[in-house]
């Protein structure tokens, strides 16, 4: 196990051993989850195995979060530069890219060469959609980095879920506008995930296109050109997905539509829970206060963080977006979710349960303390929320 060490100005030595070093391999193998269903189906002939990957995500995921609990492991700030320089961690993100391609193509071949029942087809395709939603997570980790290798790998992996505009929309749009009413990727109090999706999915695409349009206009380059970083990833998607239709026929059309939709839905789910109701204050000049740690919800659960490259340590990510996953830290008194993302996704899909669980938690945050004027509220829900929780302070 590698131990990082530094001598400080006061003659003492700070040491740190990353107990999770090898456990990060879980993020690398996580995209393989749908293959458990295929292998089981292959060995037994029973399509019931095709339900297993969804069970691994939404039953085993929350159960393991509950079982293994939260993570006390935090790297000392002074050793973060050494941790960031350790190339082992970045190789894991590089290698996750082909793992997404292997899983996507393996499932496509299985669907294209077997006569599955309708429910077996849907279970396997939806599971792949969720697994490739995590390709957006891999693209997220890579797309925030400054090296050409990593930004290109982000574009390549985002081609699998057909969401190539994500890293532009996320890096230059979501991080700028997070926790404000201007952000289509920040959920508002009283907004169900189903309402949010109708605002988030088209809003993200529009913002990405406008940002890229502005950048290319400044450079004096045509928007419809190879220089457009949205179109670069889309071109890989077109080759991949048209190639599958040409190879396996029209069965690939519903397969790809369902797969792509559920991949996008995973991002919608993550965006929904990451900033629900949180609001940055607007300054006198019309700009918003800079993003603070209390503008993100966190889940510090060991298991799901190890599957998701630490995505759930979200406050530190928004404070330091270029920081690598292995260096992200947890802090006391952050807005925190009662379970990891897998469990909270299930709660979000049941709006009545979500509002019951999260609205009181939101109102109780120390910086809000019941003050509705400090919450990002869905305008359509404002009257009902005011009637229930009291008037916003003027």
């Amino acid at each position: 196990m590698t131990t990082y060490s530094i001598d400080t100005a006061d003659q003492s030595t700070v040491n740190y051993t990353d107990q999770k070093r090898w456990w990060w391999l879980l993020s690398l193998v996580n995209p393989l989850t749908p293959l458990f269903g295929i292998v089981g189906h292959w060995l037994t002939g029973s399509e019931l195995w095709l339900l297993v990957p969804l069970g691994m995500m939404f039953i085993m995921g929350p159960a393991f979060d509950w079982l293994f609990g939260e993570d006390e492991n935090n790297p000392p700030e002074i050793l973060v530069p050494q941790l960031e320089q350790d190339t082992y961690y970045r190789w894991l993100t590089y290698l996750t890219v082909p793992v997404h391609y292997i899983t996507f193509l393996a499932v496509a071949i299985w669907v294209g060469t077997h006569s599955l029942t309708w429910w077996g087809f849907i279970a396997l395709t939806v599971a792949l959609g969720f697994a490739d939603g995590f390709a957006i997570n891999t693209g997220h980790e890579l797309g925030h980095k400054r090296t050409k290798v990593e930004t290109w790998l982000a574009k390549i992996v985002l081609a699998v879920p057909a969401y190539g505009h994500f890293w532009i929309e996320h890096n230059r749009g979501h991080h700028r506008d997070v926790a404000t009413p201007d952000d289509p990727a920040s959920a508002r109090m009283g907004e169900s995930i189903y309402q949010f999706a109708r605002r988030e999915i088209p809003g993200a695409f529009h913002r990405a296109w406008m940002l890229e349009h502005e950048r290319l206009c400044r450079k004096g380059v045509p928007v419809w050109s190879i220089h457009n970083e949205v179109l670069q990833s889309y071109m890989i998607t077109v080759i991949l997905q048209v190639g599958l239709i040409a190879t396996f026929g029209w069965i690939m059309l519903p397969f790809l539509i369902i797969h792509n939709f559920f991949s996008w839905w995973v991002l919608t789910s993550a965006n929904y829970i990451e900033h629900y109701g949180l609001l940055r204050a607007q300054q006198a000049d019309g700009k918003y206060e800079r993003c603070q740690p209390h503008h993100s919800w966190n889940a510090n659960h060991k298991y799901s963080n190890l599957l998701l490259f630490h995505l759930q340590r979200h406050s530190d990510h928004h404070a330091n977006p270029t920081r690598r996953y292995q260096s992200l830290r947890d802090f006391p008194d952050l807005p925190s979710l009662p379970s990891g993302y897998y469990g909270m996704y299930v709660v979000a899909y049941l709006p009545a349960l979500w509002f019951k669980m999260m609205d009181s938690r939101l109102l109780a945050l120390p910086h809000i303390n019941g003050d509705l004027s400090k919450i990002n509220i869905n305008p359509d829900s404002l009257d009902a929320i005011q009637a229930r929780y009291g008037q916003a302070d003027a």
Binding site: H175, R176, R215, R218, K287, R290, C291, T322
Partner: protein, 60 residues
């Protein structure tokens, strides 16, 4: 191009806007002054810090 080229650094992530190079990816050519960047300019790397947050880097 002015005689004096300045460098400005994002206090959050360390991104540096060097006027002598501009920022080709973002579409700002060499010699493009920091003060001429749009008022709503945010750090191209982290998007957390605004233009007014950037610090002038003093070179000895």
């Amino acid at each position: 191009m002015p005689d004096t080229q300045n460098r400005y650094q994002c206090p959050g992530c360390g991104y540096t806007y060097d006027e002598s190079f501009g920022d080709d990816h973002e579409g700002y050519p060499p010699g493009f002054l920091f003060t001429d960047l749009p008022d709503d300019f945010v750090c191209p790397d982290c998007a957390v810090r605004y233009k007014e947050d950037f610090n002038l880097v003093l070179t000895p």
